[in-house]
Amino acid sequence: MKISRRAAAGTATIILLCSAAFGQRGSAGESLKSLADQYRDCVSVEVRVHTDEVPGVSVRSASTHAVLSDGRLASSTWIGFTGPLASVWTTPPTEYRYRSEGEVIVPWSPQTYLRLGPEEIEGGALEHDRLAYLSAPWPRIAEWSADLEHAEDLVFSRSDGVYTAMSRTLGLSLRWEESGRLLAAASGNDAAWREFEFQGLSPGPFFPPSSALQRLRVGKVARPEVTLIYDRVAFNLADEEAAVSSGSVTGTLLRYEVETGDVFEPSGELSYNEPELLRTLSMKSSWGPTWARVVWGVAGLLVSASVFLVWKNHRAA
């Protein structure tokens, strides 16, 4: 049998590509397994992070996250807007999680904690939102590594001892060192993509970082990078040791009307209108509503009159 040189070259190329692909998947699988092994014993983590003021943006924030390996998350976030009145701070529930269209979970507890998880909410599962875990992803790494390993569109690369695994369908990307230290985690899609690059990694178990660089891309627009400082990273705490214990955190499911922005209590009573609330909050950062301006104006007049009295007395003396 005579085989043409062209056919032989084609067959060789196909064999080479197939073996390369299988070789890559094999290599990816081993690397992802070794990454998972480093974090398999990480059952939970509690982190406290804060961000310094972004230059030119008057926003300050601090948050606490407790992440469990089964995907439960307790999170609280404070965001403040500073305006001409330095004392003005707002504490809105900054992260709404939609279980389904028309429903929103908002924090409801003295600590403003928000707890999410499939088994926490009666009446259905809550889809995991990886973005919610990104600042404290370590208990989730073993599971995410397995997800990536089995992803059909896995893109795996290795360069200078640093591995990267990414899947668009999972909306997930991990970067780690050969030693198994997680360097970065990213999640999202074309509409919004967020990456946390961990810095100052300790050698200890699970390699806790001292800070992280957050990169956020919305559409084609990249937001300014934000540095998160980790004030506390504590792994595998018992409930009684953790600031967020299982008993102290509750959530409530409110009805949210997408068209109007009205948020209703479970009883059906209107709680607030979100656009109106945001308008009020933004007004608050300057002068507040009209009645507040009038009150400030009266106070200003009283002070002016008082200064005038001192001046008149000074002249009369």
């Binding site: 004392s87 701070w89 707002t90 400030w296 008082s306 009369a316």
Partner: protein, 162 residues
């Protein structure tokens, strides 16, 4: 003596302005609390409730009383009438606030002041140090000349009376 009198007068204005500022800041504040969006004295009442020293049912009346006291103190100081007594009153009010903060701190290890209309916790030692500083200012006002209103005030009062 004239520059000193003027200085004391301006100090009184500063202290009175501060009292008025903190009261108006509390009246006009708006926060989204865990209990829902709230404004004015409700936010301050929430801060008092969280400190746990006063029964929850009393937090709102106490909040209104404190704000009213601050408004009255501010207007009194700004009026320059019975200034020495006003200075003493301001020092007493500040001392009461400080004692409350110390007890609240001892009670649960942290205290929320909401003094300047914010729920953002500040180290309570700073809050107490600030109050001591303001008390010193109040004592400067107290040490002011003779505790009488400025002449212009006297004239105005006479005119009003007439």
């Amino acid at each position: 003596m004239r520059p000193l009198t003027t200085f004391i007068g301006l100090t009184r204005v500063a202290l009175g302005s501060m009292f008025l500022f903190v009261a108006v800041a509390k009246i006009t504040q708006f926060e989204v609390l865990p209990i829902g969006p709230a404004n004015g004295p409700r936010v301050f009442a929430y801060a008092i409730e969280r400190n746990g020293l006063i029964p929850a049912a009393w937090s709102m009346p106490v909040a209104i009383l404190v704000i009213a006291a601050e408004v009255l103190m501010g207007v009194w100081l700004l009026s320059h009438r019975r200034a020495a007594l006003a200075g003493l009153g301001a020092a007493a009010v500040l001392a009461a606030f400080s004692i409350y903060l110390v007890f609240a701190m001892q009670h649960q290890g942290a205290a929320t002041c909401n003094c300047f209309g914010t729920l953002q916790p500040i180290d309570v030692r700073w809050e107490i140090a600030r109050n001591i500083g303001l008390m010193l200012v109040a004592l400067v006002v107290r040490a002011g000349p003779a505790g009488r209103a400025p002449r212009v005030c006297d004239r105005m009062a006479t005119n009003i009376a007439a």
